[in-house]
């Protein structure tokens, strides 16, 4: 299959002495479901945000869909961002606005500043928003204000906002870290479904190793800004997980292999 994303020799330094990423290399194929795992502060969020340049990498090259992301100017960067949906731990919705308005926000990247500022959407776009909401099981919530939803519902609105962009890839920064196990499963199932049925590539930061092992086609282990594991979840050993987290054997509560 075609390679969608290539990250080459990417480094990121904050200030003079915080090295968040150092010489990171990996590539992601179209339609792949990849999980990034690693301890707190390893650089997972930084890595994700370098891809759509919400954070500027200090060094290296990022190729997305045959385009060199680093070289893009403002307008081209906006066009690139429309092709990459983003999902956040704290949902990052405009809580005072309705569900459907938040979903329509996903289209703002395609709009001129004039119609974006005024929030002008066509009937067709509104229909599309309703469709996406139905796919995510939110048809009852369409006109509710977002602050009246549960965490799991809010995250589904976040996914709907990303999906309406018609993206090639989703970047998810700990999408289930604020959810209970039940809602977590629903969200992960939706992400998996999006990946397999729509062919959208998913790159997701996770803290739950068992979830990562269960859902992913591939695992990338990050530790102290470096990639220390890149391979199938089936082949990963307990030892390798311990290297990623810098822990001793038996310390982590994870069952590896099959389960």
């Amino acid at each position: 299959m075609k390679t969608l994303l290539e990250v080459k020799n990417v480094s990121k330094q904050y200030g003079t002495d915080t090295v968040a990423l150092s010489d990171v290399n990996f590539s992601v194929k179209e339609g792949e479901f990849v999980s990034v795992i690693g301890p707190s502060g390893a650089g997972k969020s930084t890595l994700l945000r370098c891809i759509n340049r919400m954070i500027e990498a200090s060094n290296g090259e990022i190729i997305f869909d045959n385009v060199n992301v680093q070289g893009l100017r403002k307008k081209e960067l906006r066009r690139l961002r429309t092709k990459i949906g983003m999902i956040f731990q704290h949902y990052n919705l405009v809580m005072r606005m309705s569900v459907i308005e938040n979903v329509l926000h996903g289209l703002l990247g395609y709009k001129s500043t004039f119609s974006g500022v005024l929030g002008l959407y066509s009937e067709e776009e509104k229909k599309k928003a309703l469709q996406v909401l139905t796919i995510l099981g939110l048809q009852e919530q369409v006109y509710k204000r977002c602050d009246q939803l549960s965490g799991g519902q809010k995250q589904r609105v976040g996914i709907a906002r990303a999906l309406i962009q018609n993206p090639k890839m989703l970047l998810c920064d700990e999408p289930i870290a604020s959810l209970d196990p039940n809602a977590s499963k629903i969200i992960m199932d939706y992400l998996k479904k999006i990946s397999s049925s729509m062919g959208i590539t998913v790159l997701v930061n996770l803290h739950q190793v068992d979830v990562a092992l269960k859902y992913s086609d591939r695992i990338i282990g990050v530790s102290k800004g470096k990639i220390v594991y890149d391979g199938s979840p089936k082949k990963i050993s307990e030892e390798e997980i311990n290297t990623i987290y810098g822990s001793e054997a038996g310390e982590l509560m994870i069952e590896v292999g099959g389960k």
Binding site: N52, M54, L77, R78, R79, L80, R81, T82, I84, G85, M86, F88, H90, Y91, N92, L93, V94, M95, R96, M97, H105, G106, L107, L108, G109, Y110, K111, T113, G116, V117, L118, G119, G158, R161, Q165
Partner: protein
């Protein structure tokens, strides 16, 4: 260890109390303030007020004139607060760390706001007297400048408070800067901002009286006029109408707050 921690906290509280008492006592000594006399003169003041400072039937004849001036003062206060709010919104967007364009603009915006806020409304009135003379415009600008400084600060805090989450999300969809501001920052912070503007209107009406005395316009001037000509009956009527107006505005703004928040 634990007991030591609480003992230390108690010692700190005692120390703070001691310092407060000391400062209070020190200032009484320095200003030659007679505490006993201070309290005993209260009844005298009340006695004077009751025997002189009340409206009579004759003073009621002045009511239409008073109300006209009061209306002008209220309108000037509202105009100053609302126009200031529009300017403050712009400066707050450039000043807030979440929506700033760059650090330079942010520092400049915050600096200007701080300058305008920290000059008292009375000082502004005196300064502007030179440029505009004794006119309603002087009062208007004095109120405008102070409102602008205060509201910019309040709006910056409001924007910072509603957080960077949705700004980040909309930027990640590829939305342009102004789209992000209008679709995320303003909708999230507008109710809180309106609440601040209402507060500013109330504050302005209170300060307008003082500004009026200084600039010789509006209800403040009228009060000054009758008070200095020893017509305490009319002066008291003016005070009563001002209090009434403030209560009314406060009632209205509380109602609006309840509806929007």
């Amino acid at each position: 260890m634990k007991t030591d921690f609480f003992a230390k906290k108690r010692r700190q509280s005692l120390l703070i109390l001691f310092v407060l008492v000391l400062v209070c006592y020190g200032s009484i000594i320095l200003t030659d303030y007679d505490v006993a006399k201070g309290f005993t003169s209260f009844p005298m003041a009340i006695d004077w007020g009751l025997s002189n400072f009340y409206p009579t039937e004759a003073s009621l004849a002045k009511l239409p004139e008073i109300l006209a001036e009061l209306l002008q003062t209220v309108l000037v206060s509202i105009a100053a607060a609302t126009v200031a709010a529009v300017c403050a919104m712009l400066f707050a967007i450039f000043g807030s760390s979440i929506t700033k364009v760059n650090n330079f603009m942010s520092t400049i915006s915050r600096g200007i706001a701080t300058l305008f806020r920290n000059i008292d409304v009375a000082a502004w009135a005196m300064i502007l007297l030179f440029s505009f003379g004794q006119s309603a415009l002087t009062g208007y600008f004095a109120l405008f400048f102070v409102s602008f400084g205060f509201l910019t600060r309040a709006f910056i805090e409001t924007i910072d408070e509603v957080g960077s989450g949705s700004v980040e999300a909309l930027t990640a969809t590829g939305a342009s800067y102004f789209t992000v501001v209008f679709q995320s920052v303003i909708p999230s912070s507008l109710p809180q901002m309106i609440s601040w503007v209402l507060f500013m209107v109330e504050t302005n009406i209170r300060s307008a009286t003082l500004v009026g005395i200084l600039t010789g316009t509006g209800i403040g001037f009228l009060f000054d006029l009758y008070y200095k000509s020893l017509n305490y009956n009319v002066a008291s009527l003016i005070v009563i109408t001002i209090v009434g107006a403030i209560l009314l505005i406060e009632y209205i703004s509380n109602y609006v707050r309840r509806v929007i928040l």
